[in-house]
Symmetry: C2
Subunit: 230 residues, 2 copies
DNA sequence: GGGGCGAATTGAACGGCGTACAAGTCCCTG
DNA sequence: CAGGGACTTGTACGCCGTTCAATTCGCCCC
Protein backbone atom coordinates (compact mmCIF):
# COMPACT_ATOMS: atom_id res chain seq x y z
CA UNK A 1 0.00 0.00 0.00
CA UNK A 2 1.37 3.45 -0.93
CA UNK A 3 -0.34 5.06 2.03
CA UNK A 4 1.94 6.24 4.74
CA UNK A 5 1.25 8.68 7.54
CA UNK A 6 0.44 12.20 6.50
CA UNK A 7 2.65 15.20 7.07
CA UNK A 8 1.53 18.79 7.31
CA UNK A 9 3.75 19.57 4.34
CA UNK A 10 1.89 17.06 2.21
CA UNK A 11 -1.40 18.47 3.38
CA UNK A 12 -0.47 22.07 2.66
CA UNK A 13 0.81 21.06 -0.75
CA UNK A 14 -2.39 19.25 -1.61
CA UNK A 15 -4.44 22.16 -0.29
CA UNK A 16 -2.58 24.59 -2.53
CA UNK A 17 -3.12 22.35 -5.54
CA UNK A 18 -6.81 22.14 -4.74
CA UNK A 19 -7.03 25.90 -4.22
CA UNK A 20 -5.30 26.59 -7.52
CA UNK A 21 -7.60 24.21 -9.36
CA UNK A 22 -10.91 24.91 -7.66
CA UNK A 23 -10.54 28.29 -5.99
CA UNK A 24 -11.07 29.28 -2.39
CA UNK A 25 -14.66 28.09 -2.48
CA UNK A 26 -13.60 24.74 -3.88
CA UNK A 27 -11.41 23.81 -0.95
CA UNK A 28 -13.25 21.59 1.48
CA UNK A 29 -12.03 19.04 3.89
CA UNK A 30 -13.70 16.03 2.31
CA UNK A 31 -12.27 16.76 -1.12
CA UNK A 32 -8.88 17.36 0.45
CA UNK A 33 -9.10 14.07 2.27
CA UNK A 34 -9.99 12.23 -0.91
CA UNK A 35 -7.05 13.81 -2.69
CA UNK A 36 -4.74 12.66 0.10
CA UNK A 37 -6.22 9.17 0.16
CA UNK A 38 -7.35 9.63 3.74
CA UNK A 39 -10.48 10.33 5.64
CA UNK A 40 -11.42 13.98 5.70
CA UNK A 41 -10.94 14.19 9.42
CA UNK A 42 -7.35 12.97 9.40
CA UNK A 43 -6.32 16.45 8.35
CA UNK A 44 -7.50 17.90 11.63
CA UNK A 45 -4.89 16.08 13.62
CA UNK A 46 -2.16 17.89 11.68
CA UNK A 47 -3.47 21.38 11.06
CA UNK A 48 -6.24 21.87 13.59
CA UNK A 49 -8.74 23.75 11.47
CA UNK A 50 -9.47 24.92 7.97
CA UNK A 51 -8.58 28.50 8.87
CA UNK A 52 -5.21 27.32 10.05
CA UNK A 53 -4.70 25.36 6.88
CA UNK A 54 -5.43 28.39 4.75
CA UNK A 55 -2.98 30.48 6.73
CA UNK A 56 -0.37 27.77 6.29
CA UNK A 57 -1.05 27.52 2.57
CA UNK A 58 -0.84 31.29 2.19
CA UNK A 59 2.51 31.49 3.88
CA UNK A 60 3.82 28.57 1.86
CA UNK A 61 2.84 30.36 -1.32
CA UNK A 62 4.43 33.53 -0.05
CA UNK A 63 7.69 31.63 0.34
CA UNK A 64 7.72 30.98 -3.41
CA UNK A 65 9.08 34.47 -3.86
CA UNK A 66 12.83 34.60 -4.21
CA UNK A 67 14.51 37.60 -2.61
CA UNK A 68 17.87 38.80 -3.97
CA UNK A 69 20.70 38.16 -1.56
CA UNK A 70 21.18 41.67 -0.21
CA UNK A 71 18.74 44.57 -0.44
CA UNK A 72 19.83 46.96 -3.15
CA UNK A 73 21.73 50.09 -2.16
CA UNK A 74 20.50 53.66 -2.56
CA UNK A 75 20.60 53.58 -6.34
CA UNK A 76 19.08 50.19 -6.99
CA UNK A 77 15.94 50.93 -5.02
CA UNK A 78 13.58 51.61 -7.85
CA UNK A 79 14.44 48.57 -9.93
CA UNK A 80 14.38 46.34 -6.86
CA UNK A 81 11.04 47.65 -5.68
CA UNK A 82 9.53 47.21 -9.11
CA UNK A 83 10.88 43.68 -9.39
CA UNK A 84 9.45 42.84 -5.99
CA UNK A 85 6.03 44.23 -6.86
CA UNK A 86 6.00 42.40 -10.17
CA UNK A 87 6.93 39.19 -8.38
CA UNK A 88 4.09 39.50 -5.92
CA UNK A 89 1.72 40.36 -8.74
CA UNK A 90 2.75 37.23 -10.61
CA UNK A 91 2.29 35.16 -7.48
CA UNK A 92 -1.21 36.49 -6.99
CA UNK A 93 -1.98 35.73 -10.62
CA UNK A 94 -0.86 32.15 -10.11
CA UNK A 95 -2.89 31.84 -6.92
CA UNK A 96 -5.95 34.08 -7.22
CA UNK A 97 -7.48 32.68 -4.03
CA UNK A 98 -4.72 34.25 -1.95
CA UNK A 99 -6.07 37.76 -2.20
CA UNK A 100 -9.50 36.56 -1.11
CA UNK A 101 -7.91 34.87 1.87
CA UNK A 102 -6.14 38.12 2.69
CA UNK A 103 -9.48 39.84 3.13
CA UNK A 104 -10.82 37.29 5.58
CA UNK A 105 -8.01 35.56 7.46
CA UNK A 106 -5.25 37.96 8.60
CA UNK A 107 -2.46 35.91 7.13
CA UNK A 108 0.92 36.36 8.66
CA UNK A 109 3.59 33.72 8.85
CA UNK A 110 7.35 33.36 8.72
CA UNK A 111 7.63 33.76 4.94
CA UNK A 112 5.48 36.87 4.89
CA UNK A 113 7.46 38.26 7.81
CA UNK A 114 10.69 37.65 5.95
CA UNK A 115 9.31 39.36 2.90
CA UNK A 116 8.04 42.34 4.88
CA UNK A 117 11.35 42.76 6.59
CA UNK A 118 13.14 42.61 3.28
CA UNK A 119 11.01 45.34 1.74
CA UNK A 120 11.45 47.48 4.81
CA UNK A 121 15.21 47.08 4.62
CA UNK A 122 15.15 47.88 0.93
CA UNK A 123 13.42 51.17 1.56
CA UNK A 124 15.56 52.14 4.51
CA UNK A 125 18.71 51.41 2.54
CA UNK A 126 17.40 53.60 -0.23
CA UNK A 127 17.26 56.57 2.10
CA UNK A 128 13.69 56.62 3.39
CA UNK A 129 13.22 57.36 7.06
CA UNK A 130 11.94 54.35 9.01
CA UNK A 131 8.43 55.81 9.16
CA UNK A 132 8.42 56.54 5.45
CA UNK A 133 9.86 53.14 4.64
CA UNK A 134 6.97 51.60 6.53
CA UNK A 135 4.36 53.58 4.65
CA UNK A 136 6.00 53.24 1.27
CA UNK A 137 6.28 49.48 1.67
CA UNK A 138 2.65 49.23 2.70
CA UNK A 139 1.56 51.42 -0.21
CA UNK A 140 3.38 49.23 -2.69
CA UNK A 141 1.98 46.04 -1.25
CA UNK A 142 -1.59 47.19 -0.94
CA UNK A 143 -1.52 48.49 -4.49
CA UNK A 144 -0.47 45.08 -5.76
CA UNK A 145 -3.09 43.36 -3.63
CA UNK A 146 -5.81 45.70 -4.83
CA UNK A 147 -4.92 44.94 -8.41
CA UNK A 148 -5.44 41.26 -7.78
CA UNK A 149 -8.99 41.68 -6.51
CA UNK A 150 -10.62 42.02 -9.91
CA UNK A 151 -9.06 38.92 -11.47
CA UNK A 152 -9.79 36.96 -8.30
CA UNK A 153 -13.47 37.82 -8.52
CA UNK A 154 -13.46 36.98 -12.21
CA UNK A 155 -11.90 33.59 -11.53
CA UNK A 156 -14.34 32.86 -8.71
CA UNK A 157 -17.32 33.74 -10.83
CA UNK A 158 -16.14 31.66 -13.77
CA UNK A 159 -15.66 28.66 -11.54
CA UNK A 160 -19.03 29.05 -9.91
CA UNK A 161 -20.77 29.16 -13.26
CA UNK A 162 -18.80 26.15 -14.41
CA UNK A 163 -19.70 24.20 -11.27
CA UNK A 164 -23.41 24.86 -11.57
CA UNK A 165 -22.84 23.22 -14.88
CA UNK A 166 -26.40 23.36 -16.16
CA UNK A 167 -24.77 22.66 -19.49
CA UNK A 168 -24.22 26.29 -20.43
CA UNK A 169 -21.00 27.30 -18.70
CA UNK A 170 -20.11 30.09 -21.09
CA UNK A 171 -23.64 31.01 -21.95
CA UNK A 172 -24.37 32.25 -18.44
CA UNK A 173 -21.12 34.17 -18.31
CA UNK A 174 -21.87 35.86 -21.61
CA UNK A 175 -25.34 36.64 -20.35
CA UNK A 176 -23.94 38.26 -17.24
CA UNK A 177 -21.44 40.25 -19.25
CA UNK A 178 -24.13 41.42 -21.59
CA UNK A 179 -26.19 42.53 -18.64
CA UNK A 180 -23.22 44.46 -17.25
CA UNK A 181 -22.71 46.07 -20.64
CA UNK A 182 -26.30 47.14 -20.67
CA UNK A 183 -25.92 48.78 -17.27
CA UNK A 184 -22.71 50.44 -18.39
CA UNK A 185 -24.07 51.67 -21.68
CA UNK A 186 -26.09 54.37 -19.96
CA UNK A 187 -22.87 56.23 -19.31
CA UNK A 188 -20.96 57.79 -22.20
CA UNK A 189 -17.36 57.02 -21.19
CA UNK A 190 -18.05 53.46 -20.19
CA UNK A 191 -19.88 52.87 -23.44
CA UNK A 192 -16.92 54.25 -25.34
CA UNK A 193 -14.66 51.78 -23.55
CA UNK A 194 -16.94 48.91 -24.37
CA UNK A 195 -17.11 49.81 -28.03
CA UNK A 196 -13.37 50.31 -28.25
CA UNK A 197 -12.38 46.87 -27.03
CA UNK A 198 -15.49 44.87 -27.73
CA UNK A 199 -13.99 41.40 -27.68
CA UNK A 200 -11.72 41.82 -24.70
CA UNK A 201 -12.18 39.71 -21.63
CA UNK A 202 -11.57 40.93 -18.11
CA UNK A 203 -8.17 39.29 -17.94
CA UNK A 204 -6.37 41.07 -20.75
CA UNK A 205 -6.27 44.74 -19.83
CA UNK A 206 -5.34 44.56 -16.13
CA UNK A 207 -1.74 43.70 -16.85
CA UNK A 208 -1.15 47.00 -18.58
CA UNK A 209 -3.22 48.75 -15.98
CA UNK A 210 -1.03 47.22 -13.31
CA UNK A 211 2.28 48.37 -14.78
CA UNK A 212 0.89 51.83 -15.49
CA UNK A 213 -0.27 52.30 -11.93
CA UNK A 214 2.84 50.73 -10.49
CA UNK A 215 5.10 53.08 -12.42
CA UNK A 216 3.04 56.07 -11.33
CA UNK A 217 3.25 54.97 -7.70
CA UNK A 218 6.99 54.36 -7.96
CA UNK A 219 7.42 57.82 -9.51
CA UNK A 220 5.58 59.35 -6.61
CA UNK A 221 7.62 57.45 -4.05
CA UNK A 222 10.85 58.39 -5.85
CA UNK A 223 9.86 62.03 -5.58
CA UNK A 224 9.38 61.66 -1.82
CA UNK A 225 12.71 59.95 -1.60
CA UNK A 226 14.43 62.81 -3.43
CA UNK A 227 13.15 65.40 -0.96
CA UNK A 228 13.98 63.20 2.02
CA UNK A 229 17.54 62.57 0.91
CA UNK A 230 18.36 66.22 0.53
CA UNK B 1 -49.91 43.39 13.13
CA UNK B 2 -47.02 45.43 11.73
CA UNK B 3 -46.31 42.81 9.10
CA UNK B 4 -46.75 43.96 5.59
CA UNK B 5 -45.36 42.54 2.37
CA UNK B 6 -41.62 42.81 1.90
CA UNK B 7 -39.88 44.96 -0.67
CA UNK B 8 -36.42 44.38 -2.08
CA UNK B 9 -35.41 47.77 -0.72
CA UNK B 10 -36.29 46.69 2.78
CA UNK B 11 -34.41 43.48 2.30
CA UNK B 12 -31.28 45.15 0.97
CA UNK B 13 -31.38 47.64 3.81
CA UNK B 14 -31.68 44.91 6.41
CA UNK B 15 -28.93 42.94 4.73
CA UNK B 16 -26.58 45.93 4.87
CA UNK B 17 -27.36 46.46 8.54
CA UNK B 18 -26.65 42.81 9.21
CA UNK B 19 -23.43 42.93 7.20
CA UNK B 20 -22.24 46.02 9.04
CA UNK B 21 -22.98 44.46 12.40
CA UNK B 22 -21.89 40.89 11.81
CA UNK B 23 -19.60 40.96 8.80
CA UNK B 24 -19.79 39.04 5.55
CA UNK B 25 -19.69 35.74 7.35
CA UNK B 26 -22.50 36.80 9.66
CA UNK B 27 -25.03 37.29 6.89
CA UNK B 28 -27.23 34.26 6.48
CA UNK B 29 -30.72 33.91 5.21
CA UNK B 30 -32.29 32.67 8.43
CA UNK B 31 -30.91 35.56 10.46
CA UNK B 32 -32.00 37.98 7.75
CA UNK B 33 -35.47 36.49 7.79
CA UNK B 34 -35.69 36.84 11.54
CA UNK B 35 -34.65 40.49 11.33
CA UNK B 36 -37.35 41.10 8.74
CA UNK B 37 -39.97 39.25 10.73
CA UNK B 38 -40.47 36.75 7.93
CA UNK B 39 -39.51 33.24 7.09
CA UNK B 40 -36.01 32.92 5.72
CA UNK B 41 -37.23 31.75 2.37
CA UNK B 42 -39.45 34.76 1.75
CA UNK B 43 -36.35 36.66 0.74
CA UNK B 44 -35.82 34.39 -2.24
CA UNK B 45 -38.94 35.56 -3.97
CA UNK B 46 -37.52 39.11 -4.07
CA UNK B 47 -33.80 38.73 -4.65
CA UNK B 48 -33.37 35.24 -6.05
CA UNK B 49 -30.20 34.22 -4.27
CA UNK B 50 -27.72 35.26 -1.64
CA UNK B 51 -25.16 36.18 -4.28
CA UNK B 52 -27.66 38.46 -5.88
CA UNK B 53 -28.47 40.02 -2.55
CA UNK B 54 -24.81 40.75 -1.87
CA UNK B 55 -24.42 42.35 -5.27
CA UNK B 56 -27.49 44.47 -4.60
CA UNK B 57 -26.22 45.46 -1.16
CA UNK B 58 -22.83 46.36 -2.59
CA UNK B 59 -24.29 48.60 -5.23
CA UNK B 60 -26.59 50.23 -2.71
CA UNK B 61 -23.61 51.04 -0.53
CA UNK B 62 -21.73 52.35 -3.54
CA UNK B 63 -24.57 54.76 -4.14
CA UNK B 64 -23.88 56.36 -0.75
CA UNK B 65 -21.06 58.27 -2.40
CA UNK B 66 -22.01 61.76 -3.45
CA UNK B 67 -20.46 62.96 -6.68
CA UNK B 68 -19.98 66.70 -7.24
CA UNK B 69 -22.28 68.04 -9.93
CA UNK B 70 -19.80 68.38 -12.76
CA UNK B 71 -16.39 66.76 -13.00
CA UNK B 72 -13.68 69.27 -12.19
CA UNK B 73 -11.87 70.96 -15.07
CA UNK B 74 -8.18 70.57 -15.92
CA UNK B 75 -6.99 72.33 -12.78
CA UNK B 76 -9.29 70.79 -10.23
CA UNK B 77 -8.31 67.24 -11.09
CA UNK B 78 -5.98 66.52 -8.25
CA UNK B 79 -8.23 67.75 -5.48
CA UNK B 80 -11.24 66.03 -7.01
CA UNK B 81 -9.42 62.72 -7.44
CA UNK B 82 -8.16 62.84 -3.88
CA UNK B 83 -11.59 63.65 -2.53
CA UNK B 84 -13.07 60.76 -4.48
CA UNK B 85 -10.45 58.33 -3.22
CA UNK B 86 -10.92 59.50 0.35
CA UNK B 87 -14.66 59.06 -0.01
CA UNK B 88 -14.34 55.49 -1.22
CA UNK B 89 -11.86 54.78 1.53
CA UNK B 90 -14.30 56.06 4.12
CA UNK B 91 -17.06 53.98 2.61
CA UNK B 92 -14.94 50.84 2.81
CA UNK B 93 -14.13 51.66 6.41
CA UNK B 94 -17.82 51.93 7.20
CA UNK B 95 -18.55 48.66 5.39
CA UNK B 96 -15.51 46.41 5.70
CA UNK B 97 -17.34 43.44 4.18
CA UNK B 98 -17.55 45.20 0.83
CA UNK B 99 -13.93 44.63 -0.07
CA UNK B 100 -14.29 40.93 0.72
CA UNK B 101 -17.30 40.78 -1.53
CA UNK B 102 -15.27 42.45 -4.24
CA UNK B 103 -12.85 39.57 -4.25
CA UNK B 104 -15.50 36.93 -4.68
CA UNK B 105 -18.57 38.32 -6.44
CA UNK B 106 -17.70 40.60 -9.40
CA UNK B 107 -19.90 43.41 -8.20
CA UNK B 108 -21.10 45.79 -10.82
CA UNK B 109 -24.35 47.68 -10.69
CA UNK B 110 -25.81 51.02 -11.72
CA UNK B 111 -24.27 53.00 -8.87
CA UNK B 112 -20.81 51.56 -9.47
CA UNK B 113 -21.20 52.21 -13.18
CA UNK B 114 -22.13 55.82 -12.49
CA UNK B 115 -19.14 56.19 -10.24
CA UNK B 116 -16.77 54.62 -12.77
CA UNK B 117 -18.04 56.85 -15.51
CA UNK B 118 -17.62 59.89 -13.30
CA UNK B 119 -13.99 59.08 -12.52
CA UNK B 120 -13.30 58.40 -16.17
CA UNK B 121 -14.79 61.76 -17.13
CA UNK B 122 -12.78 63.46 -14.40
CA UNK B 123 -9.55 62.12 -15.80
CA UNK B 124 -10.39 62.85 -19.41
CA UNK B 125 -11.37 66.40 -18.52
CA UNK B 126 -8.05 66.78 -16.76
CA UNK B 127 -6.19 66.04 -19.97
CA UNK B 128 -5.45 62.35 -19.82
CA UNK B 129 -5.90 60.41 -23.04
CA UNK B 130 -8.81 57.97 -22.88
CA UNK B 131 -6.47 55.01 -22.43
CA UNK B 132 -4.54 56.76 -19.69
CA UNK B 133 -7.73 57.90 -18.01
CA UNK B 134 -8.81 54.29 -17.90
CA UNK B 135 -5.60 53.10 -16.33
CA UNK B 136 -5.26 56.00 -13.93
CA UNK B 137 -8.82 55.52 -12.70
CA UNK B 138 -8.22 51.83 -12.20
CA UNK B 139 -4.95 52.48 -10.38
CA UNK B 140 -6.62 54.87 -7.98
CA UNK B 141 -9.48 52.53 -7.28
CA UNK B 142 -7.43 49.39 -6.81
CA UNK B 143 -5.10 51.23 -4.48
CA UNK B 144 -8.01 52.22 -2.28
CA UNK B 145 -9.42 48.71 -2.38
CA UNK B 146 -6.08 47.18 -1.50
CA UNK B 147 -5.81 49.44 1.50
CA UNK B 148 -9.12 48.16 2.79
CA UNK B 149 -8.05 44.52 2.77
CA UNK B 150 -6.06 44.63 5.99
CA UNK B 151 -8.77 46.26 8.12
CA UNK B 152 -11.36 43.92 6.60
CA UNK B 153 -9.36 40.90 7.67
CA UNK B 154 -8.86 42.41 11.09
CA UNK B 155 -12.59 42.99 11.50
CA UNK B 156 -13.43 39.49 10.32
CA UNK B 157 -10.98 37.91 12.73
CA UNK B 158 -12.18 39.96 15.68
CA UNK B 159 -15.76 38.96 14.99
CA UNK B 160 -14.90 35.31 14.62
CA UNK B 161 -13.11 35.27 17.95
CA UNK B 162 -16.00 37.08 19.57
CA UNK B 163 -18.51 34.63 18.13
CA UNK B 164 -16.66 31.56 19.35
CA UNK B 165 -17.15 33.30 22.64
CA UNK B 166 -15.45 30.75 24.86
CA UNK B 167 -15.43 33.56 27.36
CA UNK B 168 -12.08 34.99 26.30
CA UNK B 169 -12.80 37.21 23.34
CA UNK B 170 -9.78 39.49 23.76
CA UNK B 171 -7.56 36.88 25.28
CA UNK B 172 -7.43 34.87 22.08
CA UNK B 173 -6.80 37.98 20.01
CA UNK B 174 -3.94 39.03 22.27
CA UNK B 175 -2.58 35.52 22.05
CA UNK B 176 -2.64 35.60 18.28
CA UNK B 177 -1.00 39.00 18.20
CA UNK B 178 1.70 37.83 20.56
CA UNK B 179 2.31 34.86 18.32
CA UNK B 180 2.61 37.14 15.29
CA UNK B 181 5.02 39.35 17.21
CA UNK B 182 7.13 36.34 18.01
CA UNK B 183 7.30 35.41 14.34
CA UNK B 184 8.13 38.98 13.40
CA UNK B 185 10.77 39.42 16.07
CA UNK B 186 13.23 37.26 14.15
CA UNK B 187 13.63 40.09 11.65
CA UNK B 188 15.40 43.28 12.70
CA UNK B 189 13.23 45.90 10.97
CA UNK B 190 9.96 44.33 11.98
CA UNK B 191 11.14 44.07 15.55
CA UNK B 192 12.09 47.72 15.51
CA UNK B 193 8.56 48.60 14.34
CA UNK B 194 7.02 46.52 17.06
CA UNK B 195 9.13 48.11 19.77
CA UNK B 196 8.46 51.60 18.46
CA UNK B 197 4.69 51.42 18.60
CA UNK B 198 4.14 48.71 21.15
CA UNK B 199 0.57 49.49 22.11
CA UNK B 200 -0.79 50.22 18.65
CA UNK B 201 -3.60 48.14 17.23
CA UNK B 202 -3.92 47.30 13.58
CA UNK B 203 -6.51 49.99 12.97
CA UNK B 204 -4.55 53.09 13.91
CA UNK B 205 -1.63 53.28 11.50
CA UNK B 206 -3.35 52.43 8.19
CA UNK B 207 -5.02 55.81 7.95
CA UNK B 208 -1.70 57.59 7.70
CA UNK B 209 -0.38 54.87 5.48
CA UNK B 210 -3.33 55.38 3.21
CA UNK B 211 -2.89 59.13 2.79
CA UNK B 212 0.86 58.73 2.32
CA UNK B 213 0.45 56.20 -0.45
CA UNK B 214 -2.43 58.07 -2.01
CA UNK B 215 -0.41 61.27 -2.23
CA UNK B 216 2.50 59.41 -3.76
CA UNK B 217 0.23 57.82 -6.33
CA UNK B 218 -1.40 61.15 -7.14
CA UNK B 219 2.03 62.72 -7.53
CA UNK B 220 2.99 60.04 -10.00
CA UNK B 221 -0.22 60.43 -11.96
CA UNK B 222 0.19 64.19 -12.00
CA UNK B 223 3.63 63.75 -13.51
CA UNK B 224 2.18 61.60 -16.28
CA UNK B 225 -0.46 64.20 -16.83
CA UNK B 226 2.14 66.94 -17.18
CA UNK B 227 3.98 65.08 -19.93
CA UNK B 228 0.76 64.16 -21.70
CA UNK B 229 -0.58 67.70 -21.74
CA UNK B 230 2.51 69.13 -23.34
C1' DG C 1 9.71 -11.26 20.42
C1' DG C 2 5.90 -9.59 22.91
C1' DG C 3 3.61 -6.04 25.41
C1' DG C 4 2.46 -1.51 25.72
C1' DC C 5 1.98 3.31 24.69
C1' DG C 6 1.55 7.34 22.11
C1' DA C 7 0.94 8.80 17.40
C1' DA C 8 -2.19 8.69 13.74
C1' DT C 9 -6.53 7.48 11.45
C1' DT C 10 -11.35 6.41 11.00
C1' DG C 11 -16.55 6.59 10.49
C1' DA C 12 -20.52 8.32 12.43
C1' DA C 13 -22.78 12.17 13.93
C1' DC C 14 -24.15 17.21 14.96
C1' DG C 15 -25.51 21.68 13.88
C1' DG C 16 -25.57 25.28 10.50
C1' DC C 17 -25.74 26.73 5.90
C1' DG C 18 -28.02 27.92 0.96
C1' DT C 19 -31.83 26.82 -1.37
C1' DA C 20 -35.83 24.01 -3.95
C1' DC C 21 -40.48 23.08 -3.59
C1' DA C 22 -45.32 22.26 -2.73
C1' DA C 23 -48.73 24.22 -0.17
C1' DG C 24 -50.90 27.88 1.61
C1' DT C 25 -52.64 32.94 2.24
C1' DC C 26 -53.62 37.53 0.86
C1' DC C 27 -55.39 41.09 -2.09
C1' DC C 28 -56.75 43.21 -6.33
C1' DT C 29 -59.38 43.00 -10.52
C1' DG C 30 -63.24 41.79 -13.59
C1' DC D 1 -68.11 37.03 -5.75
C1' DA D 2 -64.85 34.22 -8.31
C1' DG D 3 -60.28 33.89 -10.05
C1' DG D 4 -55.59 34.51 -10.37
C1' DG D 5 -51.37 36.39 -9.56
C1' DA D 6 -48.37 38.22 -5.83
C1' DC D 7 -46.41 36.82 -1.82
C1' DT D 8 -45.37 33.79 2.33
C1' DT D 9 -44.50 29.53 4.89
C1' DG D 10 -42.64 24.97 6.64
C1' DT D 11 -40.36 21.15 5.34
C1' DA D 12 -36.67 18.93 3.39
C1' DC D 13 -32.23 17.96 0.87
C1' DG D 14 -27.42 18.03 0.34
C1' DC D 15 -23.10 20.08 1.58
C1' DC D 16 -20.13 22.05 4.81
C1' DG D 17 -16.71 22.40 9.14
C1' DT D 18 -15.89 20.12 13.09
C1' DT D 19 -16.17 16.77 17.30
C1' DC D 20 -15.49 12.45 19.35
C1' DA D 21 -15.11 7.77 20.81
C1' DA D 22 -13.17 3.90 18.91
C1' DT D 23 -9.59 1.79 16.38
C1' DT D 24 -5.22 0.74 14.16
C1' DC D 25 -0.38 1.49 13.43
C1' DG D 26 4.62 1.75 14.52
C1' DC D 27 8.17 1.93 17.53
C1' DC D 28 10.77 1.24 21.98
C1' DC D 29 11.93 -1.32 26.08
C1' DC D 30 12.18 -5.36 28.79
Amino acid sequence: MPRDTLSSDQIVEAAIALLDEEGLGGLNMRALGKRLGSAATAVYWHVGSKDNLITLAGDRVWSELTLPEAPAGPDGWRAAAEALAVGVHAMLTRHPWLVQAFGAHLMFGPAKARHDDYILALHENAGFTPAEADQASAALLTFVLGNALGPAAQAALTRKLAREGDGDAEARLAEGMAQAREVASVHPRLRARLEAESGTDYGAAPQDTFTFGLHALLDGLAARLATTRR
